[in-house]
Symmetry: C2
DNA sequence: GACCTGAGTTCCGTAAGGGAACCCCAATGG
DNA sequence: CCATTGGGGTTCCCTTACGGAACTCAGGTC
């Protein structure tokens, strides 16, 4: 894990990385999103060490990304996305779009999205929340906001 | 950094993490995007160790995210985004949206985006590339694609 | 020729990940 | 009613990677 603390930086990227920037955290989020929700399943699917998996799960629960809840009268637990965590999946969806385009190669994308609204296999596209036009890195200027440091 | 190799996984998230999943890499990308492009500037801005900065820059150059190019007849170099790297910034923009909403607190967002197309301060929104309707985690089904493993 | 500056490299101490073994608890089951 | 099973973690040791400071190198400048 990063030794330098990203939490204090006046940057929403750094602060987001403080939540899911550690190795494995995004993949844990992916698995929980995809329905792999129990400790043993996660450990087997990811091949992560049990120690680190415990740490990451606790961290994600503390930050309100996932909830830990019992699913049996025996001490058995599963992890489910909170609203906060579900919205964080947006980041993963965009990563998938980029990875599909630049890294998937001839085999094609490993996973497809079927959009409920239109029923088609599709991908995400970034648009301006105000005018609806495409909004990518080259389409904007960065301006200091109210929460900027001195 | 991660000891387990994400590169071989049949998952575009894992493969993207193999490129920018190491600690600091996303922040380096952010800085280069924002115009902080030289070694000394990056080191000072991030507070990263010089050794790790060197490793990360080399890694990003190898993966085609940034280019290293001389800006002087002396051995001086700057780093600039490639097209591949510029598209990867989409991921950062979505992270900013999430961080602004869930982590910024009362101070408000540290940075604002002014959209060239409409001139307004805005944020990104995820839409279906086919039908244009909103597309978030709950709006899709995941289906194995052609590049899925056995 | 001495000095400066940007861009790294080297070295050491510490902290984090990997892996295997171990532990705890509730529900069977013989 | 004691032994077993199986999920969900802990504990331990080993190795690797980060942080930080010192050092190097090459071209320009005074």
């Amino acid at each position: 894990m990063q030794r330098t603390d990203f939490h204090e930086m006046a940057c929403s990227i750094a602060r987001t990385l403080d939540v899911v920037g550690e190795p494995w955290s995004p993949l844990i989020l992916r698995d929980v999103w995809a329905g792999i929700s129990r400790f043993e399943q996660l450990q087997a699917d990811l091949g992560i060490s049990r120690k680190v998996l415990t740490e990451r799960l606790n961290h994600l629960v503390e930050r309100g990304i996932i909830d830990r809840r019992p699913y049996d009268r025996r001490p058995r637990y599963e992890y489910v996305l909170t609203d906060k965590g579900t919205e964080l999946v947006d980041v993963l969806m965009v990563m998938v779009g980029w990875g599909d385009k630049w890294l998937a190669g001839a085999a094609g994308p490993p996973v497809l999205y079927r959009h409920h609204a239109c029923g088609q296999f599709s991908n995400v596209d970034l648009r301006c929340a105000r005018c609806g036009e495409p909004m990518h890195a080259r389409d904007i200027d960065l301006v200091p906001g109210p929460g900027a440091g001195a």
